[in-house]
Symmetry: C2
Subunit: 192 residues, 2 copies
DNA sequence: GGCAAACCATACTCGTGCGTATGGTATCGG
DNA sequence: CCGATACCATACGCACGAGTATGGTTTGCC
């Protein structure tokens, strides 16, 4: 029992701080990312932090870039591995719908679009994902201009869902209702 | 020329502060709502503010409630005035798409979902609007369970669109492309 | 025209969180 | 085993924004 019970009494690296920052952001939002709070969380003090980073913003930036790098690698790879292009979109929907961890950070960053540092990161990520969706819709048979609009619509629906059901706690949808909702999305957004 | 050139040298009421607060929120977000800044904007000092409100949070709360009250009255009334239920949804889409002012506040509040005070307000507003959409979809011929899911999907798409194209400045979509997008939404989300 | 209430200005206090200064302890190559 | 470098603790300074204290000015009303 020495994996995550006590705060791991080794010394820290910059990456440790970045990962801890992402955890904190996922749990309490960007606004809660304070250096003294993070230090307490890691069982050290500010003195440690300011050895690794020049400023609080530097940590935030590093954490965001880290997230941008290692964020969606697996999902995209898994989907592109599916042979039949017409099977990719429904599979993507269902797979994404049953994740949780990755959405937390994304939802937290959506709530923090005040902050100038997160805007460009979110813009890049959202842009890439929308384009990924657009090609998937083209491969599913939609003519290019419609594929792009459908991708925009789909990704907007994803983003909005996070806000409404994650951040706001709109009438806590049940497990079965959620599955029905996902199937409804598939039926209306993906061409037969 | 004495309507809005100089800051209106009359004395202020609580409502004046609330409206000014909403303007500021729409422009710069909830985070920028500071009492000294607002006071400067109105050409007075803090001394005035703390006569009208007990605290900064009290102002925010009052402003939010004000917005919740007088927010969507007209739109809903206009739409319900349309005789043919099947014409209501496309008309709603087009009409909402060509507004601007109301979306600014809503988008600003979406960015401020960190703040505990805005969450319940946004939850109530979003809930009501979703239900309004659901009945509209039922009136358009969708069976009740599907109507609800379609309403959720539609409203999520709206929220997501605001985030992606308003807050983030994703590739500034052109006017014609935007109209095409709206028509695409109508075609895919509204039953024939 | 004068008094009471409403409204506003000025000058503070105070908490909070960032950043700095400086000295201490662990770790590792030679 | 010893010095250099990496890592951390403690104790500060400092800016900024909320809230308070207190007194001044305007406005409505008798």
């Amino acid at each position: 029992m020495n994996a995550s019970s006590k705060p791991e009494r080794t010394r820290l690296s910059a990456e440790d701080w970045e990962n801890a920052a992402l955890d904190l952001i996922a749990e309490q939002g960007v606004g809660a990312l304070a250096v003294e709070a993070l230090a307490r969380r890691l069982g050290v003090t500010k003195g440690s932090f300011y050895w690794h980073f020049r400023t609080r913003e530097a940590l935030l930036l590093a954490a965001l870039e880290r997230w941008e790098q290692y964020g969606e690698r697996e999902v995209i790879a898994q989907i592109e591995a599916i042979a039949d292009p017409r099977e990719r979109l429904p599979e993507l929907f269902r797979r994404v719908a049953h994740e949780l961890r990755p959405h937390r950070v994304y939802a937290a960053l959506l709530k923090a679009l005040d902050h100038p540092l997160v805007v460009p990161v979110m813009a890049r990520v959202s842009q890439r994902r929308t384009e990924f969706l657009a090609t998937a819709f083209r491969e599913a048979g939609l003519p290019p201009p419609e594929a792009l609009n459908r991708a925009r619509l789909t990704y907007a629906a994803y983003v909005g869902f996070l806000q409404l059901n994650f951040t706001l706690g709109l009438p806590r949808i049940s497990h079965e209702d959620f599955d029905a909702y996902v199937e409804h999305m598939i039926a209306t957004l993906i061409p037969a």
